[in-house]
Amino acid sequence: MTASPTILEMRSITKEFPGVKALSDVSIEVKAGEIHAICGENGAGKSTLMKVLSGVYPYGTYAGDIIYQGQEMRFKDIRSSEHAGIVIIHQELALIPELSITENIFLGNEPGRGGVIDWEAAKTEAIQLLARVGLNDDPDTQIKNIGVGKQQLVEIAKALNKSVKLLILDEPTAALNEADSQHLLDLIRGLKGKGISSIMISHKLNEIEAVADSITIIRDGKTIETIDVSANGVNEDRIIQGMVGRVLENRFPEHESTIGEVFFEVRNWTVQHPLTAERLVVKNSSFIVRRGEVVGFAGLMGAGRTELAMSIFGRSYGTYLSGRVFKDGEEIQLRTVSEAIEHGIAYVSEDRKTLGLNLLDDIKRSIVSAKLSKISKASVVDKVAEHTVAERYRKSLRIKTPTVDEGVNKLSGGNQQKVVLAKWMFTDPDLLILDEPTRGIDVGAKTEIYGIIRDLAAQGKGIIMISSELPELLGVSDRIYTIFEGTITADLPSAQADPETLMKNMTSKRAVSR
C-alpha cells in the first residue's frame, strides 16, 4: 500500500507442457526499487516463471499478461526482454572462460561501427562498469583466472551495461562462499538504492530474510502468498511453512517394513568438486543402510545429494578425497562402476535422458545393458534370453509398450523410468540408490514406482532414495537423512519427521534434533 509504483506485474501466468501444468494462474507484483524474493521447493515453478518473464518461453506459449513499466510486454526472445531492461543471471554462469572480462561484458553488444569493435571505448567503459560492482581487476584478465565470486560480479556488470532496470538472479550465491555471498548481497542492496529492482530466487532462507523487501511463495505451480517484509517482517519458519504446507495425499503404498541388520555403511566420505579444488561438495559424511530399509536423502538443489551418491557409485563424480565403504561388515573398494555393480550396488541416475539411457537403443537392449554378462556366453549375447528377461520386466513393472523391440525414446517419462529401474533390478543389487526416481513423471506412474520401491525393500534390499519432494520422502522412506552444503545434518525416522523439520535441517547447519 506504500507509494512506490509497480515496475512489473505478471498476471495469471499459466504455462503448460504436454501433460503437465508447470504454472497455473501465477501472479506476482514487483515494486520499483525493491528486492523481491521468490521461494518454493525444487520444481515449484520458479525457474519456469522467470523463463516466461525473460522471453525464453516467448509470448504466445503461455497464458496471462506481463505488465512492465505500465505497458503490456510481448517478449519474443531473451534479446527483446533485455532490450526492455530485464536481465536474467543464471545460476550456471553464461560467461566464456577463455575470453577477457571486457570481451565478456560486451559479448553480443560490442561497441563500434560496421562490425569493427572499438576496443579502446570498450575497455574504458568496462573499467567504469567494474567500478560500479566493486571490482578493480584488470579488464583484460581472462574469466577463467578469476574466482566464481568475481565472475558473478562480472555478470552483473554485463547486466548494467545493458542498462538493466530489473535484475533477475537465479540462486546467485549457490556457488559462492560466505564472504563473496555477503559482497554480492551488499551490491544488490546498493543497486536498489540506484533504482534497480531485483527478483531473487534462492534456497538460502537466511539471505532472503536479510535482503528481501517482499517475498512471493510458489508451490506446485501456484502462487501461495506474498509477504510484505518491510511492513510485517518475516522469519524462516514462516517461509518454510508456506513452501511445504500442502495437504499430504494418500498416494503412498501402505507398508510394513521388516528391517534387518545394518549391511551397508559409509564413513567420513569427502569429495572434491571435479573442477574447483577448493570446493568440497561432500564433507565428512557418514551413513548406514539396513536390509529392507528405504533410506531417504533430503536436500535442496546443490546440497550434494547426487554428488554423494555418484561418488560412492564407482567414483563417477568429483575427486575422491577420503572415506571408507563397508558392506556386510567388510570394507569394499568401489573404484569403478563395474566394481560397484559387482558388489551389488546400483545407481538409478537423476537424469534418465542424459545419464540413464541410451535413447537410440530399444527397450530390451536397455534393460540388459548393465549386466550383459548375465545373458551371454563367451561374450555372445543370447538374444532369446534377452527377450525373455525384457518381457518379464515389461510384465512385472507394467511398462506400457507394444513390444520390447520399441525404442526407449518412444516411451513416456514414467515408462522410461521403469526401463531404467528394470535395468538396475536386472543387476541383482543389494543396495539400490534411486536419485529423484519420480522426477518428471505423472502422478499415476509415481504411485507405481513407489510400489516397486517398497516391493524391493520387502525383498530385503536396501534402498537409498534421493528426492526433492518431501511428501514423497516421508511417505516412502523408513528413515531420512537431511543434507545441507555437503554435510549430513540430521538422521530422522520418518515417523517422527514432518516437512517443517526436514526443511529446517535442509536449509541450515544448525541441526534441529528431535
Binding site: P18, G45, H90, R365, S379
Partner: protein
C-alpha cells in the same frame, strides 16, 4: 479388423527390414538398399547391359573390396563416435613394408601377410592409446597418423614403387582354382553360391525358431517364404553372373575375404557384448559409463581394429596392382567415410551397421563404375559422388532436426510405428522436461540464445 491386417503387414516389413541390421536405423538402410537397386537398374539400361556383365562385376568387386573392408572398420569407429583419417596412409605404409619384406628380404608371402597384420595392430595400438587413454580427439590423432604413415611409406620405399611376387597377388586380383567337370560355369563359384543359399535358408529357420522360443509376435510364414525366395533369387542370379565370366575367372578372392569379414563383423557388432558396448559408447557415453562399460577399452579396441583392417586393405590393394607405391591409398579414408554415412550411420555416433555401410560403399562403387562405362570423366564423377554424399546425409540431418524420419525411411517408419501407435506413442517429447527439473534445464535453455 483393419488394424490386424496392418499389424501383420508391418510385422512382415519390419522383419524384412531386420535383414539389413534391424534396430531403429533400419528404415534408412532399406531406403539406401532400394537406392542401390535403382542405380543398378538405371545403369544396366543406360549402358545397354554392360553393368551386370560378368567381367564388369568381377572388376567392380576387385576394385572396391579394399574400400569396403575399410568401411567395416570405419563404421565401428563412427558408431563409437570417432573418425579415422589415417586409413589410407596406414594401408600404404603396411603395403610398402610387406612388399619390401617379400621383395628384398625374401619373406614367404604368408609370413608377409602376417607381418602386415602385426604392423596394423601396432599402429592401431599406438593410435588407440592416444585416443582412449590420453584423450586426444581421434580426428587429430589420425590426422597426425595420416601424415606420419604417408611419410613412412615414402621413406621406406624411397618414394619408389616396389613390386610383389606373383603368389601374393592372389589376395588382390586372384580367382578360385577351377575343378571338376565343365558346365560352362565356374564350379567353385557355383559351390560358393550354393553355400550362401544354404546359409540364407538356415538363418531364416533359426530366426523363426528363436521367435517361437521368445513367444514374440512371429511374422507370418508367407513373409519368411517371400523373404527367402527373394534372397535366393538374388543369390542364384549373382552366382550365375559371377560364374559365367571368362574361363579361369570366378568370384574374386578379395570378394570372398570381404564376405567373410562382413559376416564376422556383423556377428560381432550385433551379437556380442563388445558390439553392444560400441553402440552404447557412441549412443550415450555417460549412460554407458554409469552402466559399467569400460569406455577406454572400447575406444582402444575400435581404433586398433580399424588399423588392422586398413593394413589388410592395403595388402589387398598392393596385390591387385602387383606393386606398392608412394601414392597408394590416397583419399581412401574419404571413400570409406562416405560409404559409412551414405549407409545410414549417424554423424554423432551410436547409429550404423556393417551391412548398411557395405551397401553405402556399393552405391558409390556402382556410381563410379556406371559413370565410367558411360564415358563420364573423372571430374564429373567426383562432382556427382560429392552431391550424392551431401544429399544422403543432408536428408538424414534435416529429418532428424524436424523430428521426422528421412524421406527414404519415411515409408518404413510409418509402418514400423503402426502397431498400437494410435494413441500410445507421443512421438517426441519436448526437449524441456517440464515438471520437477525446471531448475536444472534452465541452464541449457538459457545459454542458447546468447
Amino acid at each position: 479388423m483393419s488394424t490386424t491386417t496392418q499389424r501383420k503387414r508391418s510385422g512382415g516389413i519390419r522383419e524384412l527390414g531386420k535383414m539389413f541390421g534391424g534396430g531403429q536405423s533400419s528404415g534408412r538402410q532399406v531406403g539406401i538398399l532400394g537406392a542401390l537397386v535403382v542405380i543398378i537398374v538405371i545403369f544396366q539400361i543406360a549402358t545397354g547391359g554392360l553393368t551386370l556383365d560378368p567381367t564388369n562385376l568381377i572388376n567392380l568387386v576387385n576394385q572396391n573390396a579394399y574400400v569396403l573392408i575399410l568401411a567395416i572398420g570405419m563404421v565401428m569407429v563412427i558408431i563409437a563416435g570417432h573418425i579415422d583419417l589415417s586409413v589410407g596412409s596406414v594401408a600404404a605404409f603396411t603395403g610398402i613394408v610387406v612388399a619390401t619384406s617379400m621383395n628384398s628380404w625374401n619373406l614367404p608371402w604368408p609370413l608377409a601377410i602376417l607381418l602386415g597384420l602385426v604392423i596394423g595392430a601396432l599402429i592401431g595400438a599406438w593410435q588407440g592409446w592416444w585416443v582412449a587413454y590420453v584423450g586426444v580427439p581421434a580426428f587429430i590423432v589420425t590426422l597426425a597418423g595420416m601424415l606420419i604413415f604417408r611419410g613412412g611409406n615414402q621413406f621406406i620405399g624411397n618414394s619408389a614403387t616396389v613390386p610383389v611376387p606373383d603368389a601374393f597377388t592372389v589376395i588382390g586380383g586372384g580367382f578360385l582354382p577351377d575343378f571338376g567337370p565343365d558346365f560352362g560355369y565356374s564350379n567353385p563359384t557355383l559351390l560358393l553360391g550354393l553355400l550362401v543359399a544354404v546359409i540364407v535358408v538356415i538363418q531364416e529357420i533359426r530366426l523363426r525358431r528363436a521367435q517361437t522360443r521368445m513367444q514374440s509376435e512371429k511374422a507370418p510364414l508367407w513373409v519368411s517364404v517371400v523373404k527367402v525366395l527373394i534372397l535366393l533369387g538374388i543369390v542364384v542370379y549373382a552366382t550365375l553372373l559371377f560364374a559365367g565370366g571368362r574361363v579361369g575367372t570366378s568370384f574374386p578372392v578379395s570378394g570372398i575375404i570381404l564376405g567373410v569379414l562382413v559376416l564376422a563383423y556383423s556377428f560381432v557388432t550385433r551379437n556380442t557384448t563388445y558390439g553392444r558396448h560400441i553402440y552404447a559408447v557412441g549412443g550415450n557415453w555417460h549412460a554407458a559409463e554409469l552402466s559399467g562399460v569400460k569406455i577406454k577399452r572400447i575406444n582402444f579396441f575400435v581404433m586398433m581394429n580399424m588399423s588392422i583392417l586398413a593394413s589388410l586393405a592395403g595388402m589387398i590393394a598392393v596385390a591387385r596392382s602387383v606393386a606398392s607405391g608412394p601414392g597408394d591409398g590416397v583419399g581412401w579414408e574419404l571413400d570409406a567415410i562416405a560409404a559409412v554415412f551414405i549407409g545410414g550411420a549417424a554423424v554423432s555416433g551410436g547409429i550404423g551397421t556393417i551391412v548398411g555401410s557395405i551397401v553405402g560403399g556399393l552405391v558409390i562403387a556402382v556410381l563410379n563404375n556406371g559413370l565410367q562405362l558411360l564415358g563420364v570423366g573423372v571430374d564429373r564423377v567426383q562432382i556427382i559422388k560429392g552431391l550424392v554424399l551431401l544429399l544422403a546425409v543432408g536428408i538424414d540431418v534435416y529429418s532428424k532436426r524436424q523430428g521426422r524420419p528421412s524421406i527414404l525411411g519415411l515409408m518404413n517408419r510409418r509402418r514400423t510405428a503402426s502397431p498400437g501407435d494410435q494413441n500410445a506413442t507421443p512421438i517426441e517429447r519436448p526437449v524441456v522436461e517440464p515438471t520437477n527439473n525446471a531448475e536444472s534445464t534452465s541452464r541449457s535453455q538459457s545459454t542458447t540464445p546468447n
